[in-house]
Symmetry: C2
Subunit: 457 residues, 2 copies
């Protein structure tokens, strides 16, 4: 029997049962189980499979077909987010159960369900055509949920094995079960931490207040200087390399079945605050940001404690758009922080890494390079057709606000451009309790990808 | 035998052994022990003693002498700070031991040692003159270290019993064992907490960043608007009622055996940041402040978490100088916070109470009211003489940066002005591990107060 042909749903249940939490070393057994499941699945599909060791969790590398054929690389990740807080789950996170047309379990949507979709579609294609003439390289990593720390090193060592005509990824979102999105871009990221230091220890604010610069006051002054009153980032040069969206990208966005009103209600905000000249829906996709993710210092408990703290910190991340570079922006933000720091306070800024933004203008759209391979041109056209045929609506071609730094890494090191077809929705509760995968999307997506793969040859 | 006459040091050891931590309900037994110790001590000295119930810890009220005599009120507190962190103590916090001329133990300096000094001096005076013709009211509370929440209510109910010619307090500081300070003023205090609210829950900063106002960014903008770049508070009307220091107050300050350099070294700061027109040593005594005591929001752990937090907070206290009023300043700060808040963010400001500043220009000094009672004139002159006789230097008459709100409450409700003679020093580690009381100060202070009390009649 072949699990992918007989019951993709049971395949997904088995995969979810592997508790493969990469953030917590107590889940080592689950990670190994997930590796074994994915390797066995690929072998059942006819792939040659290597488990490539890294300083962290190993990466699964499968290959199938003749190297002279068109070459497709498919990406997924076998690790999942921690299940906490456990008491907010309706059913066990690692025992997947079906309710109301969804399969509930940690990793069901991110990213095990989409992987089962790809594999099930391929199983049908290979059954009908055992010599399906596309060379496929499967790449399934185990550290996506902790920032893929081993991925870049793996890439450099194995780039020859990863060369191909295109990367296929289903690890992005769509607005709902009747409207899929082909993700054409991802924002980059750079992370910084700033620490300010005042007196050598916390001081009594009565005895010593009025003599020295309070580190919290300094931190507020420094950080509030990073935006103007309209919300634009004031860091010199921050917007220098920003490529504005194409007109067609804004037009595509208008097709999204979401209004500003419904979005505001979903988030629970009264008013939006997008950058000048952009709507809220545009802001999250087309604009770079500088966000404070965490700020702390001084007394954190109930009531008051009259202290001048010795130090304070802020955690900052920027989301970057084409053609900003993570290293360049991190340096500019660091300079701006130091520049804004008063001389009475010691400041330390640490860069915490990140990744460059990624964008691909689909073949034929205004702004595209015009240098796409025939294979990629066919893939984008094929994706549009098969999604329309199976979901009843054309996909929207849209950038997304989140970041998957390895996508740009694969572009730079292995020259791969990506076709990203989003299979999960906001309602799937990614990274949250009661994560689920929509089974209507799952079934239509298997049909779509079967048609997609068949159409590539 | 009389402990106060035979061994004030042993009396203090016994008092310290009562673990009277008011902040922690586990220390109830120690609070009762301290009440019993203080009551027994006062009775031994010939006082009639009542234990007055309050909603919190009871207040000890002792009286001695003929109501027609000049009336002196003496204040102290039997409660102490928590001993944490315990592992930083060299010896047990509630088993006082002598080392290098100091007695180490929680409460040794704040405020049990100074109380033993007063009582021991009185014991000598009463022995020599059993009919010592000053009516003394003793007031020892048990909630000073938690902000005296029951004290104002007690005052209102018992104000007739507290009427007198002067209040004597030894719960302030002096620069060192060779230089005492007569504290002529205390800053007032008002406390506020500001909370800002954005989306209904923490959001993924990639998926949603660029659409809405980050509450941390709003908090930074709001709070950094409260000071200008020179460190002056920008809250409208904040400085309206500030009474500048008298020239003699600045002159007295210059006698303090502390340089700006040694003060900076003690605090561990490179540069001071006092308000314009004031030195650092002046700033902590003569200027009002607005300090951020605690700020928090978003991710507080290691590494980065790319979140836009749902909310953030800041804890603020202002130290106030004559003739600012705590209620008035709290209202002005609240208005400024709300005024600075962007419309995209919900803001809540809570006033957390406080107390008005206190100042007394000593009789005969420029700026004094000239309406002082003969008793108070004699007391200040007597304090100067007996300190000089016993410590070898004249006391410095100086305002202090800290706050003891009950001092101003006693002034308002019972009409009492205060003579405050500081017996502890920075080296005594008040509120910190290894609190101690300098035994040289203790012995000289007992001699001084014996002379002081004798000279009052």
């Amino acid at each position: 029997m072949n699990l992918f042909l007989d019951s993709p749903l049971n395949a997904l249940k088995e995969y979810v049962a592997c508790a493969s939490v990469s953030a917590d070393s107590n889940f080592h057994e689950g990670l190994v189980a997930a590796q074994n499941f994915a390797q066995a699945g690929l072998r059942q599909l006819g792939f040659e499979v290597d488990l490539i060791e890294t300083p962290g969790n190993p990466i699964i590398l499968g290959t199938r077909g003749d190297p002279s054929w068109p070459r497709l690389v498919i990406y997924g990740h076998y690790d999942v987010q921690p299940p906490d807080p456990l008491d907010l789950w309706t059913s066990e996170p690692f025992h997947a159960v079906e309710r109301n047309g969804r399969l509930y379990g940690r990793g069901a949507a991110d990213n095990k369900g989409p992987q089962i979709v790809h594999m099930s579609a391929l199983a049908r294609v290979f059954k009908a055509n055992p010599n399906y003439p596309v060379h496929i390289t499967y790449l399934i990593e185990g550290e996506e949920e902790i920032g893929s720390p081993s991925f870049r090193g793996f890439l450099e060592k194995n780039k020859e094995r990863l060369k191909g005509d295109m990367l296929l990824v289903s690890d992005t979102g769509s607005p709902g079960p009747d409207q899929l999105v082909v993700t054409t871009g991802l924002r980059g990221l750079c992370a910084l931490e700033v620490n300010v230091f005042g007196p050598k220890q916390d001081l009594h604010s009565g005895v010593h207040g009025g003599a020295l610069y309070n580190p919290l006051q300094a931190l507020m002054r420094i950080c509030s200087s990073l935006h103007d009153k309209d919300g634009k980032v004031t860091v010199p040069g921050f917007y220098d390399n920003v490529r504005p969206p194409e007109k067609w990208e804004r037009d595509e966005l208008s097709k999204l079945p979401i209004t500003e009103e419904s979005y505001a209600e979903f988030l629970g905000v009264q008013k939006f605050f997008p950058p000048p000249g952009y709507s809220a829906l545009e802001g999250v996709r087309f604009c770079p940001t500088l966000e404070l993710n965490g700020v702390g210092g001084g007394y954190q408990g109930q009531g008051s404690k009259t202290v001048i703290p010795a130090e304070a910190f802020a955690k900052i991340t920027c989301r970057l758009v084409p053609d900003q570079k993570a290293d360049d922006i991190a340096k500019k933000v660091e300079n701006a922080l130091i520049e804004a720091s008063p001389p009475e306070i010691k400041i330390e800024v640490k860069s915490k890494g990140g990744g460059d933004p990624y964008v691909l203008i689909p073949p034929g759209k205004p702004g595209s390079s015009g240098e796409e391979s025939d294979f990629m041109i066919k893939a984008f056209s094929q994706a549009e057709t098969c999604i329309r045929n199976n979901f009843g609506t054309k996909p929207i071609f849209l950038r997304e606000g989140g970041s998957i730094p390895i996508i740009q890494d694969l572009k730079e090191v292995a020259g791969l451009d990506s076709l990203m077809i989003g299979l999960f929705t906001n309602e799937d509760n990614l990274h949250a309790p009661d994560e689920s995968f929509h089974l209507g999307i799952m079934n239509k997506a298997i049909d779509s990808f079967e048609e997609f793969f068949r159409g590539l040859v």
